[in-house]
């Protein structure tokens, strides 16, 4: 049943001009960012004396900043993908079709989540050109690159789950997109607050709650059980909230 739902969602996404527009824009934006970071790095290298050049770390200056930027772009690209997931079903009355069928609320939510998550992974596919270029230039640390992609994929799962939850709260797609943006933004804010606080304990707790904090660990090429538990918990909780909202028709 989850597969039936996911297939239907995926088919609808590919039919939508919005999805193609987002893929095009995302590819252009990430490509432009990659180009600028490379040019900026080259300028920096030329601007410093030869004996200081080794202090400018390519991985930190280009690779990690590139993937941090891509992670930031997802903040703007995922809400338009998730806004219609449940909001449109409610507005058009097609949710009744699903509710009248032998399928559980959880299966509906998980099917929609998986299809949209898979689409965001596809959204990242054109960016695979960057590691190819870097690899060809003989630069990169493959562990860091792998960590960056695992981080992006897991982060996008969290963002999709939050966007889906936002979509479950309203019938209005624009409101759903705005709510999705705010929810994802909130996870960023937590990490910024964590950086600015003087209280060590509060800072650590906020960093652990924030998606960005875990992404920073992954970008360094470190994948711990704690991160996996965090991501699984975050996604599970967000999807669980969507299921509860869907079930609230009986309250």
């Amino acid at each position: 049943m989850i597969a039936v739902m996911a297939r239907r969602e995926m088919a609808q996404l590919w039919r939508s001009p919005l999805a193609w527009t987002l893929i095009g824009l995302f590819t252009l934006l990430t490509g432009w960012t990659f180009f600028n970071l490379l040019v900026g790095y080259a300028d920096n290298i030329q601007a410093v004396p030869a004996d200081m050049q080794s202090q400018i770390n390519f991985l930190e200056e280009v690779v990690m900043r590139l993937y941090a930027n891509i992670n930031f772009f997802l903040l703007f690209f995922i809400p338009p993908l998730t806004m219609r997931l449940l909001a449109e079903e409610k507005r058009q009355g097609t949710l009744d079709l699903l509710l009248a069928a032998p399928i559980t609320d959880t299966q509906i939510v998980v099917g929609k989540f998986l299809a949209t998550w898979l689409f965001t992974v596809i959204l990242l596919v054109p960016t695979l050109l960057f590691p190819v270029v870097l690899f060809w230039a003989g630069v990169p640390d493959q562990t860091v690159l792998l960590g960056c992609y695992v981080g992006l994929i897991l982060n996008s799962a969290c963002y999709v789950a939050l966007g889906l939850f936002a979509s479950s709260l309203t019938e209005n797609q624009v409101v759903a997109a705005l709510l999705g943006f705010i929810f994802i933004m909130a996870t960023w804010l937590l990490s910024w607050i964590a950086q600015s606080t003087d209280n060590f304990m509060v800072g650590e707790v906020l960093r652990w709650i924030s998606v960005t904090g875990h992404f920073e660990t992954l970008v360094k090429g470190v994948l711990s059980t704690s991160d996996l538990v965090y991501y699984a918990g975050f996604i599970g909780l967000s999807l669980g909230c969507s299921v509860q909202v869907l079930g609230s028709r009986n309250w």
């Binding site: 039936v4 058009q92 079709l97 009248a100 069928a101 032998p102 028709r249």
Partner: protein
């Protein structure tokens, strides 16, 4: 749990009650709908029809009481109920960006239909939509979209079909076709449909429920409801001639409440309003003949459903 074979009825409501925050939508409904009938669910807007239908299909959970569909409780055994019920909500749940074929295939998959191609062929033929099967639903007329909505309700071959205002907003030709389709379903399935078009209910239904302010006001065979709430019956008599003197004698007959005479030469029609629900046509004919009036034709009309409906809903409103 009775199970399908043990239930001579298709649906039973037992003290069915639904409260929304601050509002009681449905109050203590008790009724049974037999298998193989077309049952009309009548009521003014906001009476609780859609809420009741949604509880019957397992889309909403009752606050108290329960519904049994062929012996299965939608709360306890939702999948058993959903596989037996086909629902067309008031707004057909259609994906406008899909073709009719894609949409019905998706619906069939949701209902675990094994042979999807034959199921599609069956419902497309039944709803006369074969020739639009490859068209986008968004490009179809409202009449065709309604038919596709009915097709999705039938794709898993349910034994109980629930249609919420299936003819609302359709053109006259489509209305006739949808009504014919509902009648044809009666051979194999139980059909429950809600409507506020009373003549439609009279035309299509075997049994009816009248619901007002969330309460069941009348339930049963259409003829029984007429009998129960009908009050006065009407008899139309075509006579050769009737003088004023004869008319005044006829007005004095004990079972006559009123008599209206229409003279459109060469015909004369007497419209009697009777003060009894009993069968008194024979007595009326004797009364006419005794008074020298030659009877050419006679027909008795039950009270119109519209009048019953208004009376029943008004009675409750006053209470």
């Amino acid at each position: 749990m009775l199970g399908h074979d043990a239930a001579p009825w298709a649906l039973k409501a037992e003290k069915l009650h639904k409260d929304y925050p601050g509002v009681t939508a449905v109050q203590q409904l008790d009724f049974t709908i037999n298998s193989g009938v077309v049952h009309g669910f009548l009521g003014p807007n906001g009476a609780g029809k859609s809420t009741s239908l949604r509880m019957m299909c397992g889309l909403l959970r009752p606050t108290s009481g329960r519904v049994l569909v062929e012996g299965f409780d939608p709360v306890e055994q939702p999948f058993e109920v959903k596989s037996r019920v086909g629902l067309l909500p008031e707004n057909p749940p259609l994906y406008r960006d899909m073709t009719v074929n894609e949409y019905l295939t998706f619906t069939a998959r949701l209902h675990h239909v094994k042979n999807i191609s034959s199921a599609l062929e069956r419902v497309l033929t039944l709803t006369n939509t074969t020739h639009v099967a490859h068209r986008l639903i968004g490009n179809l007329s409202k009449g065709y979209r309604q038919r596709v909505g009915i097709a999705q309700a039938l794709v898993h071959d349910p034994s109980l079909v629930v249609l919420d205002e299936p003819t609302a907003g359709l053109d006259p030709e489509s209305v006739v076709e949808v009504r014919a389709l509902i009648k044809s379903l009666k051979k194999e399935k139980t059909v429950i449909f809600s409507s506020h078009l009373l003549h439609e209910v009279e035309e299509v239904c075997d049994t009816i429920s009248i619901i007002a302010h969330g309460q069941l006001m009348a339930h049963g065979l259409l003829s029984d409801v007429r009998q129960q709430f009908g009050g006065q019956a009407h008899v139309e008599v075509e006579v050769a001639a009737c003088s004023d003197e004869q008319a005044s004698k006829l007005r004095k007959l004990p079972f006559v409440s009123a008599l209206e005479i229409k003279r459109i030469p060469p015909q004369t029609h007497l419209h009697f309003l009777l003060n009894t629900k009993d069968e008194i046509r024979g007595e009326l004919v004797r009364g006419l003949v005794t008074n020298g009036v030659d009877v050419l034709a006679l027909s008795q009309k039950g009270p119109e459903l519209e009048k019953i409906f208004l009376e029943v809903t008004r009675t409750r409103g006053e209470a």
